[in-house]
Subunit: 160 residues, 2 copies
């Protein structure tokens, strides 16, 4: 009987351990990072907590700046535009993306978005999940132009 | 006794299941993919098996083409150059990268490389590991120029 109890005890520990690991893998709450999280962004162009890890600085020869951006659940950019456009790659979690005049899009790991030059847009994390993106931003036309904050009504709209 | 045997049987199954999951997570031999592997490249500009998953096609407004490239262990490009340069992001595995006249570099997950325009270079996987990279290639100056294959002596040199 003691052996039986011991076995059942071990079984329950293992079940718990397996379940914990499973949850980590599935929810993305503890994802295996591709890039370091970087430093928290301290300017007021974002709602919520956002981190930036710069990967490539633009220069006179290659005008692309590249960085990994991590949004906590619910965090997002202001509306903004890039004079030379932007490419986003979804690395982990669940992202929101919207261009002015178009419905909200959900971004999942592996998705890629090309945002045209000078088109106002915003992006961030879903309410229930973080979001990590790589942003590839051409600087030849000038820096980002920041616009209005994304309201809660805009953030909570239905996606297409 | 039957209950005991059943418990031990379940225990061994769970142990095996947990162990398998653990190995998958740690070794990277079956990494969680960020991007689909894509299709095997069939041209002769590569040594070994290489797969390409296109993410963004260049157009007249945004000249960057972006793709995820997967090299099997030992696989590599020929020497080549890009008239508008290239940015590489190391996503998983172990990569090799060399510019003409410089030592071989080892690339690990999270590394980023900016290759200048018109500078011959090659990249690929280490002998013992796969390598997944995101390649960001400006097309405004024209397409890639392919050069000589990377010899085994070049491939097997010491890294810096």
């Amino acid at each position: 009987m003691r052996i039986l109890k011991t076995s059942l005890f071990l079984l329950s520990i293992l079940l718990f351990a397996c379940k914990s690991q499973h949850v980590d893998n599935k929810t993305g709450s503890n994802p295996e990072l591709v890039f370091p999280k970087g430093n928290k962004i301290t300017n007021n162009n974002f709602t919520g907590n956002v981190w930036l890890h710069p990967l490539i600085e633009n220069d006179s020869i290659n005008q692309n700046g590249v960085g990994s951006v991590t949004f906590e659940p619910g965090a997002r950019t202001k509306w903004h535009l890039h004079p030379s456009g932007q490419i986003l790659l979804a690395i982990s979690g669940t992202g929101y993306y919207q261009e002015k005049g178009s419905p909200l899009r959900i971004l999942q790991k592996g998705d890629a978005v090309k945002c045209p030059p000078n088109l106002p847009h915003w992006h961030g994390a879903a309410p229930h999940d973080h979001f990590v993106q790589v942003a590839i931003t051409g600087r030849e036309g000038g820096p980002v132009v920041w616009l209005d904050p994304v309201t809660d009504a805009e953030y909570n709209q239905e996606s297409r």
